[in-house]
């Protein structure tokens, strides 16, 4: 499962409250998506392009476990998200809603905002296209890759009825 796109880079410990601020939680997804991470980079929700890649530091997506944060991030059209580490509920939600996520130690020093990045979720490999530098991390668990390929958890549960019944 491969992606290539322009990178938007964010820092450490970013809570879901900054992906979707409290004042937008009752708004429809299209509205939430227009304000994702706006406090940290006002350009991001305005100029993000389909297939772009979000790169973040440690414990990305901490705080509230509601899947709207991952859904709103996915609704911006990004291809995948790569972080030093994720908050676990956020990581889980990424795969359940069909947003590929990869943990790579050192990713924040591999790229700058705007760099082109190549990401392989299945092998856990990331390449900065401009510099040619590559980093490897733990690839996603095969169960999670299967979930992504199915289109998320609910689609997986429908396809493989024996799993949960």
């Amino acid at each position: 499962m491969r992606f290539e796109g322009s990178c938007w880079k964010f820092g450490d410990n970013i809570p879901t409250d900054r992906l979707v601020k409290s004042k937008y939680v009752f708004e429809p997804m299209e509205v939430m998506a227009k304000h994702v991470l706006e406090d940290l980079d006002p350009d991001f929700p305005l100029n993000v392009q389909p297939g772009d890649i979000v790169v973040a530091g440690k414990h990305f997506g901490q705080s509230s476990g509601r899947a709207i944060a991952t859904k709103a991030l996915k609704a911006t059209g990004i291809g995948c998200v790569v972080a030093e580490t994720f908050a676990r509920t956020f990581y889980r939600n990424c795969f359940e809603v069909g947003l590929p996520a990869l943990e790579i130690k050192g990713i924040t020093s591999l790229v700058n905002g705007g760099d082109r990045l190549r990401v392989d979720i299945t092998t856990g490999k990331v390449t900065n296209v401009a510099t040619g530098k590559t980093l490897s991390g733990e690839p996603a668990d095969p169960f999670l890759v299967e979930m992504l390929n199915a289109g998320g958890l609910i689609a997986l549960a429908a396809q493989r009825t024996e799993l949960f019944q």
């Binding site: 410990n13 809570p15 409250d17 900054r18 601020k21 409290s22 939680v25 009752f26 406090d39 440690k58 414990h59 901490q62 705080s63 509230s64 476990g65 509601r66 899947a67 709207i68 991952t70 580490t85 994720f86 908050a87 676990r88 509920t89 889980r92 939600n93 359940e96 809603v97 668990d141 169960f143 998320g152 958890l153 609910i154 549960a157 799993l163 949960f164 019944q165």
Partner: protein, 422 residues
């Protein structure tokens, strides 16, 4: 096996499980609140839409609202209510208290259960020896409601042993906040955190509660205290009492992947400063910061212990004129206890304002929005900018004693250092 592994093995019908394995396990309880129920309902109605075979597994508590302030929010509560009624899901409507406190006080959580919920502080139920984890709406709608199951990666266990005796003035909340600062946010990512050691064993139930609560900020998947006589005595006071045997760990952490030992005697009263919970500082370092708001409430606050501590600080004193002191009982039961003990009138006359049992100012859904430049000191569990109105407002987290002392001083203050005598 560690307790988390024992519970996951039993619930997935296996003799044993290993950290890192993915298992599909039975879920005993799903906890939703008014901000997650309707989102789960939306996914369920659009993508699943099957009958719910065991609706009593699910409990919804309206805790971010005690009375909807806008038409839009009234509609959200109405849709939550109608969805719960449609399937026979248990609903505790506005005024019942914080989701987790109401769930415990009404007997919905017992030792050994697997408890899931969208609220990120769901792991707090590990205080009763339940294995409690936060999942997303798609797990709840897609597998928990229709099949009573969910997928779990078996976590590695990290044991935190707390030794020693707290200094006078240091509370359990100071110790829990200190651990987040000391260990670091996200540093125990994906782990099951076992709280143990003499300090935990000797702590009463509602002080133990604060440790699994704060483990969320360490990044833990779940956290627990192995059930013992304190747990069982507490559970016997709940509706339904103690049914069956509560699961036992080995008591020694023999299978823990890591053991971290701390002396609680080192800890002084702390304030977690914005922007994150791990940004803890001794109270004197932030003393003097004016606070427009002080609040007892939230997932960890609004306990009867917090209200008693505030009443002690406010005895013979008044809330400072520039500060509003909100008191939000964590459950109806706590409000009744406060009323019986005379604390409602005492705190009211000292200038505090009582709010209905709820989650209080958490996320400023029903109360607690701040203007830019304002600050609140509270017993809440989160201090991220933008959660309470303006991104330029500040939330400080501290013990009930420090919150009450700050309400008296009109600024962040240590108990016993500053006050406005009557």
């Amino acid at each position: 096996m560690n307790l988390a592994e024992k519970i996951l093995a039993k619930a997935s019908g296996r003799r044993s499980v290993e950290p890192g394995e993915i298992v599909i396990a039975h879920v005993d309880r799903l906890l939703m609140h008014d901000l997650s129920g309707y989102l789960t309902a939306d996914v369920y109605e659009r993508k699943v839409g099957r009958p719910i075979p065991d609706p009593e597994r699910a409990v919804m508590v309206f805790d971010h609202h005690f009375s909807p302030p806008t038409e839009k929010q009234a509609e959200v509560l109405k849709s939550n209510r109608e969805w719960a009624r449609k399937y026979g899901i248990t609903l505790l409507d506005c005024g019942n208290g914080n989701l987790h406190h109401a769930a415990v006080r009404n007997g919905f959580v017992k030792p050994g259960m697997i408890v899931v919920g969208s609220d990120s502080h769901t792991p707090v139920h590990g205080a009763l020896g339940a294995l409690a984890m936060a999942l997303g709406n798609d797990s709840h709608a897609g597998t928990v409601l229709p099949y009573g199951k969910a997928w779990f990666k078996v976590p590695e266990t990290v044991r935190i042993e707390l030794h020693g005796t707290p200094r006078p003035g240091t509370t359990a909340r100071d110790i829990a906040l200190w651990l987040v600062g000391e260990i670091g946010e996200g540093e125990l990512n994906y782990a099951a955190v076992e709280f143990a050691g003499p300090y935990i064993k000797e702590s009463p139930f509602w002080d133990r509660w604060l440790f699994p609560l704060l483990c969320v900020d360490l990044g833990a998947k779940c956290s627990y205290v192995e059930p013992d006589e304190v747990t069982e005595a507490f559970v016997r006071t709940l509706p339904g009492g103690l049914s069956g045997e509560s699961p036992r760990g080995d008591g020694a952490g023999r299978d823990a992947g890591r053991v971290l030992r701390y002396d609680v005697g080192e800890v002084v009263p702390l304030v977690a400063c914005p922007p994150t919970v791990g940004n803890t500082k001794p109270v004197p370092e932030v003393a003097g910061r004016p606070v427009q708001w002080a609040e007892l409430g939230g997932h960890g606050g609004g306990r009867i212990e917090d209200i008693r501590a505030a009443a002690e600080v406010l005895a013979g004193r008044k809330v400072h004129p520039r500060t509003r002191f909100n008191i939000v009982p964590s459950s109806r039961q706590v409000f009744a206890e406060a009323a019986r003990e005379g604390l409602v009138l005492a705190l009211h006359e000292a200038g505090a304002t009582w709010f209905p049992p709820s989650t209080g100012s958490n996320q400023a859904i029903n109360m607690g929005a701040m203007a830019s430049g304002e600050a609140m000191i509270s017993t809440h569990s989160r201090n991220f900018p933008g959660r309470n109105g303006s991104s330029e407002a500040e939330m400080y987290l501290a013990s009930a004693t420090t919150v009450a002392a700050s309400a008296v001083a009109g600024e962040i203050a240590c108990h016993g250092t500053k006050g406005s005598p009557e």
